[in-house]
């Protein structure tokens, strides 16, 4: 058992089990704000990252996620608000005293040092004696499954190998929090998936609290314990991937995560539960986003493509539409339907039927039904509803 893992285990036994309790937060922000000149990069961010958790900051570019990460790292200083790491206020504490580990987008390996010296850098800065240092470097490299390259220089390694070195360098110091800044964006698709799985495994094995920045929503959904969705400098929603996907709290979150169809519908009833009417279908939706609404109001109904299907005989038809295009995807077929009165964009239906293309050729009139109960409705936008393209 490596000492890296052993350290973590003993800490966990001594401490309380992971909980939402703020005393147990490895990193917590309250009201953190940052401006660059007149541009507000981050506004009033409050977030509590639990010990051992992998928290993802997800959002489009310019949403403030990198600013937030840089504030935690200490590369930037908050204008307002507080940042705590391990229960200690770090607002005034410079980066090098924060005991963090960080992996950069381009890995930022020291080009003038060997791989062993790169990985051992943090330990040297901590004054670890040489025999101990060598052992820990070797352990970290074997943990990231990269051995036999100790004497090489970074430019002699492939992108995937460089990433392993960067990870080893960040975790070898047993950081209080591991910060990952879009670490997979430079890798090709296949390598990316395997590195994601590996990093997640190592993170779980070490139990190291991790904050991960990405703009890639599928990456966020597959890796995270929890996700903080950010937009225009604000944290819009914090929750598990499933909560974020199935119970988005606002239009932006609903549109940004996964594919979604926005259909114009009418609110039928609001009290304990809300019902939306679309064609012949009556669809139950969460009440919370509609609290101030009355029956009869126009709403935008957000439905995932896998929840739509071409109606069988006898099913209530929500939308009458015309098949406009198909995209064959192997395991499923994306059907693009047109129903201009309901949806200004094409409606996306994900069909698992192997013969979908021959059954519903272009131009066919079809009825669409809505399955399941995780559709969600928000206030209708004055402008025509769109399916946000990512």
């Amino acid at each position: 058992m490596s000492s890296l893992t052993a350290d973590r285990r003993s800490k966990e036994r001594a401490g309380a089990p992971a909980a939402a309790d703020s005393d147990d937060a490895a990193v917590s922000l309250s009201g953190a704000s940052k401006k660059f000149g007149k541009i507000i990069a981050l506004q009033d961010a409050t977030l509590s990252v639990r010990r051992g958790e992998l928290m993802t900051l997800l959002g489009p570019s310019g949403c403030g996620k990198t600013t937030l990460l840089n504030l935690i790292a200490g590369f930037l200083v908050v204008d307002d608000g507080e940042i705590e790491i391990d229960g200690k206020l770090v607002n005034e504490i410079p980066t090098y005293k924060r005991e963090i580990g960080m992996m950069f987008q381009n890995y930022a390996l020291f080009p003038h040092m060997s791989i062993a010296d790169n990985v051992g850098y943090g330990l040297r800065m901590r004054g670890i004696a040489k025999p101990d240092l060598k052992r820990r470097v070797a352990e970290a490299l074997s943990l990231v499954r990269l051995t036999g390259v100790e004497d090489r220089r970074p430019f002699q390694l492939s992108g995937g190998q460089q990433q392993r070195v960067a990870l080893a360098r960040a975790i070898v110091v047993s950081p209080k929090v591991l910060l990952l800044d879009e670490p997979f964006s430079a890798l090709d698709r296949n390598l990316r998936t395997s590195m994601q799985i590996e990093i997640k495994e190592i993170q779980r094995q070490l139990g190291v609290t991790t904050i991960f920045v990405t703009h890639d929503q599928s990456e966020a959904l597959s890796l995270s314990d929890r996700i903080a969705v950010m937009f225009e400098g604000r944290i819009r929603q914090v929750g598990s991937p499933d909560e974020i996907y199935r119970r988005p709290t606002d239009r932006f979150v609903a549109s940004f995560i996964g594919d979604v169809n926005v259909l114009r519908a009418r609110l039928d009833m609001v009290n304990e539960q809300a019902i939306v009417t679309l064609g012949a279908a009556r669809i139950p939706v969460p009440v919370e986003p509609l609290a101030e609404f009355r029956a009869g109001n126009q709403v935008d109904l957000f439905v995932r493509p896998e929840r739509l299907r071409i109606a069988n005989a006898g099913e209530p038809i929500a939308v009458e539409a015309t098949v406009a295009a198909h995209v064959y995807q192997g395991g499923y077929v994306n059907l693009y339907l047109e129903a201009p009165a309901i949806c200004t964009n094409r409606i996306l239906v994900r069909s698992l039927e192997p013969d979908a293309i021959s059954r519903w050729p272009t131009g066919t009139r079809v009825g669409v039904s809505i399955a399941g109960n995780d559709a969600i409705a928000f206030e209708a936008e004055p402008s025509p509803p769109d399916r946000i393209e990512k």
């Binding site: 590369f75 090098y96 950069f104 381009n106 930022a108 020291f110 850098y121 943090g122 800065m125 110091v173």
Partner: protein, 264 residues
């Protein structure tokens, strides 16, 4: 592909660039005591004479002293300003940049004359101090430029990475910033030293008999004599510089020293 015409054009340009050095080199081996080209009889004797001539020997020594001090001081000053220009924004930044680079615009004789007047005014004997000060001003733009380009090429995330791993600002400087800037610093110093050692126009104003540098000594010599020892000296000078650059290339990579190659 260049084609025959292209190849000839390249050769012609190369020939033209090398021509003066080639003419001087051949003239250096002329046995007769006049500077003619091409020589009719051949000899090494002007090399021996040039190497033994007192004014040239002291000129060379003075030149090395001046070049060493001037390029070292210029490196220190230039690197400091390059850091400031690269890392901080402050009022009058553009103006400072312009002033530091101004000796590219102001003619060398103006700078030399200026220092001459100044030295006389404040009562400095015409010693090494004024020569060194003058050369610092002359070579500063080149050092500044060299270090500045190196700094631009330096990925600041490397410094952030070092800080995140627990390195204090001083240790970041020593373990990451300076090692990565080394080629630029050495290149800047080398360029400054060569320029300073070579400088004639301003040196003519600010040197005295005791402090005259090699180009000034050569000028004084050629006013009285016109034998090929001048040419022999030139050949020795070219060989010394070429050796220096070859060493720099071997140990640092010339591309990096001259900043024409990105750092890896």
């Amino acid at each position: 592909m260049l084609g025959i015409a292209g190849t000839l054009a390249v050769l012609a340009i190369l020939g033209f660039v090398i021509l003066p050095a080639a003419v001087v080199t051949l003239a250096a081996f002329n046995d007769r005591a006049i500077l003619t080209f091409p020589p009719e009889t051949w000899s090494w004797r002007w090399f021996a004479k040039a190497a033994a001539y007192d004014d040239f020997r002291s000129g060379c020594r003075n030149g090395l002293i001046v070049a060493g001090w001037a390029s070292s001081i210029a490196l220190l000053v230039g690197a400091t300003f390059a850091f400031a220009l690269d890392r901080y924004s402050f009022p009058l930044k553009r103006m400072l940049e312009a002033v530091l680079l101004s000796s590219l615009i102001v003619p060398h004789f103006t700078i030399g004359l200026g220092f001459l007047i100044l030295a006389a005014q404040i009562g400095w004997a015409r010693g090494f101090a004024v020569v060194v000060a003058c050369h610092v001003v002359l070579v500063l733009p080149f050092v500044l430029r060299s270090v500045y380009v190196s700094l631009r090429n330096l990925d600041q995330r490397l410094e952030l990475a070092a800080a995140s791993l627990g390195a204090s600002p001083a240790r970041v400087l020593v373990t990451v910033t300076l090692p990565l800037l080394a080629p630029g610093l050495v290149g800047g110093w080398l360029l400054a030293a060569i320029l300073s050692f070579n400088e004639f126009t301003a040196s003519l104003f600010v040197t005295a008999q005791r402090t005259q540098t090699l180009p000034v000594a050569m000028y004084n010599y050629v006013r009285e004599y016109a034998d090929p020892s001048m040419a022999a000296l030139s050949v020795m000078y070219i060989l010394a510089t070429a050796t220096l650059l070859a060493l720099a290339n071997a140990y640092l990579g010339l591309g990096k020293v001259l900043n024409v190659e990105p750092h890896r």
